[in-house]
Amino acid sequence: MDAGAVGTLIKKDLILLFRNKALGIMPHVFLVLLIVIYFIMPGTVNEKLKLALYGTNIPQILIDEMAESGVELVITNSEEELNRGVEDGDFIMGMTIPDDLLQRISTGERPEVKAVFGPSVLPAMKKAELTFTEQIIFLLQGEPLNIRVEEKILGPDMTGRQIPTRDRLIPIFALFIILMEIMGVAILIVEEHERGTLSALLVTSMSMGSLLTAKAITGIGLAFLQAVFVLTATGILIANPLILLTGLFLGSMLVAGLGFLVATLGRDIMTVIAWSIVVLLTLFMPAFNILLPGVMSDWVKIIPSYYLTDLMHRAVHFDAGWAEIWKNCVLLLTIDLCLMAVGSFALRRRLA
């Protein structure tokens, strides 16, 4: 390995990168855009359920009591206003209570209470919301259900500190930035091959090993620095700096092996982009687990990027320490090294 040649090639790649208007400027615009998106999005989560209620004689005590249990009751002036509010998504449901509700209950009749839901209500939510209706009626009657519910939260209690969507996006942003560099590494190699400069490099004193090392360092470095930049600019890095930097570095190392494999498969820039999209989409799947918890089953664990997203999610949102994430680090490092070995072997055969 010739360190001087490796450094020279890295310097050359960076010079060419910044002279290329598309490849040099676009990623920076993209990084700034991610940061802007982060700050535009709300930084808090509204943990209250908002229900609309229409009817006369709704006692204030009912509104206060429901508010204590995290349900905001909004009294509308008309049934039309209620329906419109539900349809527009301002309320998760609406209820129209007849004026003579209590009177008719007392005479043994079955008065009708209208419940309306938005178009995208899930069946389970509909059922839960109907339970609210029953609870409200009981409260109106002055007869709360005579049961005692013991509440227990398994795992970390996130009551009052739910993760805002923008913070859920941060590990996804970092993953996206890192994964984009897979394409970057593959393009760096295939471009040399396409332009014929690869042969010019390989007839100098530079070895194939030095060449691949230079490309890997460039890709890993760019991925790592860009991800660190976004996490620093959004103020996320200070939450758990050492663990996050370790995670980002190990995640960035994925870029080398996968970039080599994509370069092996790609014949030109277009095929590299096509293969990169396939790889990016696959590696992006574990990120959905952060955005929509529970949508993915255990099979996502076979995707290498799972260990990065999981590490970052836990470090950023649950203050995870080394004891909780060391296994992720070891697995990521092992995967990184295996992919580098396989990618390097395949690429050497392809370029020979």
Partner: protein
């Protein structure tokens, strides 16, 4: 006998089922220019790739500077310069940056890029990006890049292909200057005229085999016709062409008679060109 800089014995190379090079053997002496001639697909570029260490593994023996190229690739590559047929420069870098970059890859920290660019007549353009250069300028810059490590062997693949006469002349001049310096030149071309002008010896490669290897003069003697083509202006103003075969008893008399009695306008020896000889040996042309 000068030292052999390149020694190739029974070299074979296959691309899958294609037998690109089929057991060729030759030697090139120090300071010699060998023209490696053949049509497209004859095996020229494959041979150059093997000789420059770009195509291992292969069958046979290739010794450069007395060392096996397969085992000493990087040591040998440090002492050679290669100019490729296809332009392969970093177009978004300047000429000077290109030269300095490749010099650094050879471990040379301070390269006299101005002198190199002066040799290829590119001074004043050193800070222009290569993408603004014409084809001839790029080819001359490729030649300058080939020289950054002051190589002992130059492998030049079609160095003047498609160039304007000025650029082609510059490159030919540099080839001869390098030979004067003591460098060996392995010149791959299908331009027979160029090979004839530059090469000390030429090798004809056809279908992966060397069909003939010798000096251009010897080849012409061996395969050419010993004759003189004469054009004579007749009384009615028309030209009459005659071929005088040399080496016969009557040749001298006939020539004397022609010069004294006839109005001779032109007289040319009818020696064969390298292209004629190539066709004669291989049964096909170079196109």
């Amino acid at each position: 006998m000068p030292a052999k800089t390149i020694s190739v014995k029974d070299l074979e190379y296959r691309y899958g089922a294609t037998h690109a090079v089929q057991g060729i053997s030759f030697e090139v002496a120090k300071g010699e220019i060998l023209g490696f001639l053949g049509p497209n697909g004859a095996g020229k570029t494959t041979t150059v790739k093997v000789l420059t260490g770009l195509l291992p593994p292969f069958k046979g023996e290739v010794m450069i500077f007395g060392k096996d190229i397969a085992r000493n690739t990087k040591k040998i590559q440090a002492r050679i310069g290669v100019s490729f047929e296809k332009t392969n420069l970093y177009e978004q870098m300047t000429a000077e940056e290109n030269l300095k970059f490749f010099a650094r890859l050879f471990g040379i920290r301070h390269v006299d890029s101005f002198h190199l660019l002066e040799r290829v007549e590119l001074t004043g353009k050193e800070n222009d990006r290569v993408e603004t250069y014409s084809k001839g300028m790029k080819q001359r810059l490729m030649m300058a890049r080939t020289l950054v490590n002051t190589p002992d062997i130059l492998f030049l693949d079609e160095p003047t292909e498609g160039l304007d006469p000025v650029s082609a002349d510059t490159i030919r001049r540099i080839i001869l200057e390098e030979r004067e310096r003591g460098a060996t030149v392995f010149l791959t071309t299908h331009d027979m005229h160029e090979a004839d002008k530059l090469s000390d010896r030429v090798a004809f490669i056809h279908q992966g085999k060397i069909a003939a290897i010798d000096t251009p003069h010897s080849l012409k003697q061996a395969y050419g016709e010993r004759a003189v083509n004469v054009e004579i202006l007749q009384d009615d103003g028309t030209l009459r062409k005659e071929k005088l075969i040399l080496g016969q008893k009557s040749s001298a008399e006939e020539l004397k008679h022609m010069m004294e009695k006839e109005n001779v306008v032109t007289m040319h020896s009818a020696e064969a060109t390298l292209e004629d000889i190539f066709i004669q040996i291989t049964g096909r042309g170079l196109a």
